[in-house]
């Protein structure tokens, strides 16, 4: 199951909530304002690091670029919209917003 998260972790609890329900191995894709979670060196970096130990983590590249986020946490993979579609080919989708 692919989990998408589109909310900034600084403003809502969507990120924390989604993380609680993650099954190990399931990919997480940050989109829209959700991508702020993977900016390196912010207060959510330790959480991202922890998630990465059990789950693959992706972020939508066009959303990173739009927000001027050049530096993302090690281990997080940037994908474009076709990469998003690729993840949907492999998994059912659970969209958290």
């Amino acid at each position: 199951m692919l989990h998408t998260i589109n909310k900034s972790p600084f403003e809502t609890t969507t990120f924390e909530t989604c993380i609680r329900f993650l099954v190990p191995g399931d990919p997480v894709l940050f989109i829209e304002d959700g991508v702020y979670a993977v900016q390196s060196g912010n207060k959510f970096s330790p959480t991202i690091e922890r998630v990465l130990k059990t789950n693959p983590v992706f972020a939508l590249g066009p959303d990173l670029d739009a927000r001027g986020i050049g530096d993302i946490a090690d281990g997080v993979e940037s994908v474009d919209y076709e990469g998003f579609v690729g993840l949907v080919e492999e998994h059912q989708v659970n969209s958290w917003f």
């Binding site: 589109n6 989109i31 829209e32 304002d33 066009p62 474009d80 919209y81 076709e82 998003f84 579609v85 690729g86 949907v88 080919e89 059912q92 989708v93 969209s95 917003f97």
Partner: protein, 119 residues
């Protein structure tokens, strides 16, 4: 693969509509069928032809209309949600239609995936 999309927010105010569109485009480019985009909650306001954004901005209703006509994607607004928000047959862009929630059930059943975009 056959993909259905559920879009729960209106145009411009939330990026959900933009992301749904970009996702649909990319899916079609990769050879998938985007069967339908079902509009719910404020999402129904995506298809009013009265939309008239600045010239240098995207026209979201026109964009959905074009996607529908070029690639046969059904653009369907929930009737109950539409009535609350003043979306009627009088204002629909070409290629869109108003329908009941039963249709969303059909979309969920007949597609391999249902991808939701909201806020």
């Amino acid at each position: 693969m056959k993909i259905g999309i559920l879009l729960k927010e209106g145009p411009y105010n939330h990026q959900a509509s933009d992301t749904a569109f970009k996702f649909a485009e990319a899916a079609i480019k990769k050879g998938h069928t985007v069967d339908a985009v079902f509009l719910y909650n404020d999402g129904v306001t995506n298809v009013t032809k009265l939309m008239d954004p600045p010239q240098d901005d995207r026209n979201i209703a026109a964009r959905w209309s074009e996607l529908s006509q070029k690639h046969g994607v059904e653009i369907l607004a929930c009737i109950a949600a539409s009535k609350r928000r003043g979306i009627s047959d009088d204002v629909l862009v070409e290629g869109s239609a108003i329908t009941g929630l039963g249709t969303l059930t059909d979309i969920a059943i007949r597609n391999d995936r249902l991808v939701t975009f909201g806020d």
